[in-house]
């Protein structure tokens, strides 16, 4: 186990800079998720930690030891690849024991560790099989087994679940989380899926265009997004955001007055008003809107409503009697509304 520290880390590919000075401290035993849209630099950051990409500037330290110039193999870290990258000509047993064999562990010790890891991952019946004889979920587990067996200081995951179908993804998500709780190994996990990030992370670093937009615990990001990017990236369905002017404790927008959190902003300031779908509920009075689409999901119902040609999403608990074409009133919860500066996008 170990702490990981990035200091002012930069990465150039040719003349393009893809990471613009990333500083991030990952605590010992922490499950850190790097999340962001594709091309935001999250995978590059992970690969730099893995030693698969050179560092242009800045430093990476594992347990206070700078590893910039260390080979991957000397960093004592293990990585699970998106494509699994299992050795096709080796059995599951040999795949898992490969790293131990390379560092010249004794055969009895390798067998023992592989057996123990296989037991944790329920891979015991498959040890003599080849990767091509396994299902996607099993291959994924072998890839994890290959990492666990080494007992490394840090686990790295690069979008490990994106090749699995939806159901399996949810199951593996829980499995990885449980594994982390059991092993307590520092983990850096890269994904573009904010649901994965929310459900698994101790802390999330939301990345965009080579910078960290916000760092914090999942619900902290959800409740207090630092800017528009984080506000709209975290949460599903995404937060409703529209432009307005702040006046007398409310935002004038879409031909109505939207109650705003108290003591925020300046009179007359152009802002962006953000409200999550579950904080916007139909009521007896409020902002008039027209229901366009009703999506019943059983445990909740999603309404697509229209106000002045702007579409908003409303999520209601349970079932709804509303029908398309119906006129309703929306009651925004002022305490849960978010204000962002119209120009900078920063939270007010």
């Amino acid at each position: 186990m170990a702490a990981v520290s990035f200091q002012e880390l930069r990465k150039n590919f040719g003349s393009t800079q893809v990471l613009h000075g990333i500083s991030l401290e990952i605590a010992d035993g922490e499950f850190m998720v790097l999340v962001g849209p594709s091309g935001c630099g999250k995978s590059t950051l992970l690969r730099m930690l893995a030693g698969l990409e050179d560092i242009t500037a800045g430093s990476i330290a594992i347990d206070d030891r700078v590893v910039n110039d260390l080979e991957s193999k000397d960093r004592d870290i293990a990585m699970v690849f998106q494509s699994y990258a299992l050795y096709p000509h080796m059995t599951v047993r040999d795949n898992m024991g490969f790293s131990l064999k390379l560092r010249k562990d004794k055969k009895t010790r390798i067998d023992e560790r592989v057996a123990r890891t296989a037991k944790i991952l329920n891979l015991e019946p498959y040890l003599e099989r080849y990767p091509r004889e396994l299902s996607g979920g099993q291959r994924q587990r072998v890839a994890m087994g290959r990492a666990i067996v080494r007992d490394p200081k840090v686990f790295l995951f690069d979008e490990p679940l994106s090749n699995l179908d939806a159901k399996l993804r949810v199951a593996m998500r829980a499995e990885i989380k449980a594994l982390h709780q059991r092993l307590q190994t520092t983990t850096v996990y890269v994904t573009h899926d904010q649901v994965e990030a929310m459900t698994m992370a101790d802390r999330i670093a939301v990345m965009n265009e080579g910078r960290i937009e916000q760092l914090g615990a999942p619900l902290e990001l959800y409740d207090r997004p630092a800017n528009l990017f984080v506000a709209q990236f975290i949460g599903s369905p995404a937060m409703n955001v529209f432009e307005g002017i702040l006046r007398d404790g409310a935002v004038e927008a879409l031909g109505a007055r939207w109650p705003a959190p108290k003591n925020k902003g300046i009179q007359g300031q152009p802002v962006r008003y953000g409200i999550r779908p579950e904080h916007l509920q139909p009521g007896r009075d409020g902002v008039p809107a027209e229901v366009v689409v009703v999506e019943p999901m059983g445990h909740e119902t999603e309404l697509l409503v229209r106000i002045n040609d702007i579409d908003l999403i409303v999520v209601m608990h349970g079932r709804s009697a509303h029908a398309p074409g119906e006129r309703i009133f929306l009651a925004p919860q002022a305490a849960n509304a978010h204000l962002f500066d119209a120009a900078s996008g920063r939270r007010i």
């Binding site: 893995a50 030693g51 698969l52 080979e71 991957s72 193999k73 870290i77 293990a78 990585m79 690849f81 998106q82 494509s83 699994y84 990258a85 299992l86 050795y87 096709p88 000509h89 490969f98 790293s99 390379l102 560092r103 080849y130 990767p131 091509r132 004889e133 396994l134 996607g136 291959r139 290959r146 080494r150 090749n163």
Partner: protein, 278 residues
């Protein structure tokens, strides 16, 4: 009806092609089991088929066959050495260019392709002079080196293409697992490249086995020539022993056929299945 016409068309095409290919081989076979007198009878099957010709060959009982065993050994030695050497050079080159991404790899690939603008026959005389300068004429090594020179560019090209198809994540996974480049080469790269390696090794081996022009130029002593060159000597006289020539030719054709048969499993890929997604 349409299907029938199509199939009939295919058969009409296939039968002549098959006859075209097999007739010469049948002709060789016919000669080799005929006695000297009946070889030119023109019959589709000899009156008295005989295996005597093969006995003559094995016991080296003819003027042209006095060194049969030495010559076939030469052929074999040269073919195996050329195959092995080509494979060693081309595999290392392909690994370095495709996996280690060494600088100048592209240039090497372009040069390899460029060598095919020059017909091998053009290089025969320069090669002869070069071998003479190194005092390698009449040594098996001269032909081995010449064959490796001719086979290596193509081998590098093919193996590089095959290497590129291996997922790069495998290399990264091996690096993370602690493999040095040499271990990566030995424990991951070579096993996965086996089908291509066997195919390319066979190619180089057969290229050398079948070579005539270079063998004829570089080797001239009866004890050093390959069987292919020795076969050429059969027709140097007015009264050639055709039945022995054909029988020896048939014997000479057997090893390549056997090699193809033995390695047919490797000629198809599929070993990388399961490495990555899909």
């Amino acid at each position: 009806m349409r299907r029938f016409t199509r199939e009939a068309g295919l058969w009409l095409l296939a039968i002549p092609i098959l006859l075209w290919t097999l007739l010469p081989i049948y002709h060789i076979f016919l000669f080799s089991i005929s006695s000297k007198d009946s070889a030119f009878s023109g019959a589709l099957w000899p009156d008295k088929p005989t295996l005597r010709n093969f006995g003559t060959i094995v016991r080296e009982e003819h003027f042209y066959l006095h060194h049969f065993w030495v010559q076939i050994w030469n052929s074999l030695w040269i073919a195996v050495a050329a195959g092995a050497l080509t494979l060693a050079i081309a595999t290392c080159a392909a690994f370095a260019i495709s996996r280690l991404k060494v600088r100048g790899g592209r240039t090497v690939m372009n040069l390899a392709l460029f060598t095919y603008f020059i017909p091998a026959a053009f290089l025969a005389i320069p090669m002869y002079k070069a071998m003479g300068a190194y005092e390698l004429l009449n040594s098996r090594w001269s032909l081995v080196l010449a064959m490796v020179t001719l086979a290596a560019p193509y081998a590098i090209w093919v193996l590089k293409q095959a290497s590129d198809k291996l997922p790069y994540e495998l290399d990264e996974a091996a690096r993370m697992d602690g493999a040095t480049p040499l271990q990566l080469f030995r424990l991951v790269y070579l096993p996965l490249m086996t089908p291509s390696l066997v195919a390319i090794g066979t190619y180089a081996l057969l290229l050398a086995w079948n070579e005539y022009l270079y063998a004829y130029l570089l080797l001239s002593h009866e004890q050093t020539i390959t069987l292919a060159v020795a076969l050429g000597h059969f027709i140097s006289a007015d009264d050639s022993p055709w039945e022995l020539l054909m029988a020896t030719g048939l014997v000479y054709a057997l090893p390549p056929a056997a090699i193809y048969y033995a390695f047919r499993r490797y000629m198809v890929g599929g070993l990388t299945a399961g490495a990555v997604k899909a």
